[in-house]
């Protein structure tokens, strides 16, 4: 097929007798698609690229599921009082949110910048706002898949949350605010550092947050100063907030919302100032 196409093409160049079709095919007819269509297509592409990426899938799906199953079924880790899965699920959900909206987004965007993808998209009718909207939708899409998978696994392991309409709403609000905070920090990193530095840094943060962020066990067991330091981390705020809502059935502390809001604000401001597209 390929050979045939080339032969035909070369012939057309030599004898412009077939030019009529080409004129109608290539005749200028410029115009941008509606904004919603551009954003929907771009979000679909981002979502597929994220889900297809092996290492990202490891961070966003495999590791959270393994942590949840492994530490629920074994007692190698002191996770606090009550059924193990009840204690673990909120933290693992928080880790999953961070893996997508921080680690995955930072690494993906860093390499897109490095390979000129952001620059190339900048030459299309898709605006920067449209691109950010698409990335946000893709991140939320992956997080929705993560939530379904992790909650299903947790329920299968005997997780018994006490959901009320209010607690579900509070959990969703926490996740959305945390997504804004993580995403703006991810874009700050990806838009200012070299792609390799972003890759190393984002993975390092993932591991540090896994240990320090109250993901697997509450930070209340930490020595005083360390506990205080950990409490201002976004992943700690998210995991403690989710733990309050899902496990204890109590409303999340205003402090958790405040910490996430401050990170989102600072990260967003810095990213919008410092982000470099190429």
């Amino acid at each position: 097929m390929t050979e045939h196409t080339f032969t035909a093409s070369a012939g057309a160049a030599a004898a412009p007798a077939t030019g009529g079709d080409d004129v109608s095919l290539f005749a200028p007819a410029p115009g941008a698609a509606p904004m919603w269509r551009m954003v929907a297509s771009q979000a679909g592409m981002e979502l597929r690229v994220m889900l297809r990426h092996g290492e990202q899938f490891l961070l966003t799906m495999v590791i959270p599921v393994l942590l949840l199953v492994g530490f629920s079924l074994t007692s190698v880790l002191d996770v606090g009082e009550g059924p193990r899965v009840d204690a673990l699920t909120p933290g693992v959900l928080a880790l999953a949110v961070m893996s997508t909206s921080f680690t995955g987004l930072a690494i993906g965007t860093g390499f897109e910048r490095r390979y000129g993808v952001l620059k190339r998209l900048g030459a299309t009718p898709l605006s920067r706002f449209g691109l950010l909207a698409a990335k946000t939708l893709a991140v939320l899409g992956v997080q929705a898949i993560q939530a379904v998978v992790l909650c299903t696994v947790a329920l299968a392991l005997g997780w018994s949350p006490s959901p009320t309409p209010g607690s579900v709403l509070a959990a969703v609000a926490l996740v959305l605010l945390a997504t804004a905070a993580f995403s703006s920090l991810a874009l700050l990193m990806a838009g200012t550092l070299r792609a390799e530095a972003t890759l190393a840094g984002a993975n390092l943060v993932y591991v540090l947050m896994l240990g320090l962020g109250g993901v697997l066990f509450p930070t209340s067991g930490f020595p005083g100063p360390l506990e205080q330091a950990a409490s201002v981390l976004p992943v700690t705020a998210l995991s403690s907030g989710l733990r309050a809502v899902l496990t204890e059935g109590s409303p999340p502390s205003p402090g958790a919302f405040a910490v996430l809001a401050v990170w989102a604000l600072v990260g967003g401001l810095l990213a919008s100032r410092l982000f470099r597209w190429d």
Binding site: M1, T2, T5, F6, S9, A10, A12, A13, P16, G19, D22, V23, S24, L25, F26, A27, P28, A29, P30, G31, A32, A33, R37, M38, S41, Q42, M45, R48, V49, R52, H53, F111, E112, Y115, G116, V117, K119, R120, G122, A123, T124, P125, L126, S127, D278
Partner: protein, 314 residues
């Protein structure tokens, strides 16, 4: 609609202390192919990236379809297609998938399947970008530049690294775009590409225009006589023997001989008698002229003459 597709006046572009473009002026017509020809580092990509709105000019005036490439970027983007020198596609995106995405940004795109077939990419439609060969990546990038039916396309080194067949497919597409009324601006350091495709050639060297015109104007439709020899040739005596005047230039060749080029001021002066006069002088001087030939001047010769350097050796 009678404005130029691109108008660049006294463009200056600096990077730190380096000045990449030093007062460059040219214009490109609609429905025509304009080639920016020059060695690597001449300032071609800087010029094109200013026109694309990717970089801001440090001086001069640039108008694209009558608009400012930075201030009017939103209005220009749907109307202008861009093919960067490399990259621009996520490594994990599949060829057809990415082209469909680019098509979806436009109101009346070309059917991506037709473009893939035309550029010989149908068999790799489902292949991720990172697994495509360099030539396939180039052609996908070209397809992305034209899929939105633009009025104007910028192609930065569209055939760099392509095999002859893929190069032919790219040339064919450029010719078809031109035939359909699309303005094409391409950069190249292949003079045969400029000669074959371009209506207008802008020769760029050291960030400025060294010469411009149609390929025929630049080469002047001129012929010259070349030969090489290891004998000593007294250029002044050979010039004196020419019937209606002429100039003898020479340069050392790679194999240690000297190549002589005889040119005339008046193109009509290079006639059969002129050639006979050269061979007669060689015979009387005991010079065996090897590889003796009459040839048309190429853009390569023009470039060499303008800059004292060869295009390919940069």
């Amino acid at each position: 609609m009678d404005t130029a597709a691109v108008e660049v006046v006294d463009l200056v572009k600096r990077y730190g202390t380096t000045t990449a473009v030093t007062g460059l002026t040219f214009s490109a017509r609609r429905g025509a192919v304009t080639a920016l020809l020059g060695p690597n580092g001449a300032g071609k990509t800087s010029t094109i990236e200013v026109c694309e709105g990717f970089r801001r000019a440090d001086g001069g005036r640039v108008r694209v379809l009558g608009l400012d490439p930075v201030a009017d970027a939103a209005a220009l983007k749907p109307r202008v297609g861009v093919m960067p020198q490399s990259g621009g596609v996520p490594t994990g995106a599949r060829a057809a998938e990415w082209l469909r995405l680019m098509a979806s940004f436009h109101a009346r795109p070309i059917d991506p399947r037709l473009l893939l077939e035309r550029l010989g990419l149908t068999s790799v439609a489902a292949t991720p970008f990172r697994r495509l060969s360099g030539g396939q990546q180039q052609r996908l990038s070209l397809a992305c530049a034209v899929v939105g039916r633009p009025e104007l396309v910028f192609l930065d080194e569209p055939t760099a690294g392509l095999d002859p067949q893929a190069r032919m497919a790219t040339w064919d597409l450029v010719t078809a775009l031109r035939g359909a009324g699309v303005a094409v601006i391409l950069t190249t350091h292949h003079m045969d590409e400029a000669e074959r495709l371009a209506d207008h050639v802008v020769v760029i060297d050291h960030g400025a225009v060294a010469a411009e015109g149609t390929p025929a104007e630049l080469t002047g439709g001129r012929r010259e006589v070349c030969f090489s020899t290891d004998a000593d040739v007294d250029a002044a005596r050979l010039e004196a023997a020419l019937p209606r005047g002429g100039r003898v230039g020479s340069r050392d060749t790679a194999d240690g001989r000297r190549e002589y080029t005889v040119t005339t001021e008046d193109p009509d002066a290079l006639d059969p008698e002129f050639l006979a006069a050269i061979t007669a002088w060689c015979a009387s001087s005991g010079v065996l002229a090897e590889d003796l030939r009459v040839r048309r001047r190429t853009l390569e010769d023009v470039f060499l003459q303008l800059t004292g350097r060869e295009l390919r050796d940069q």
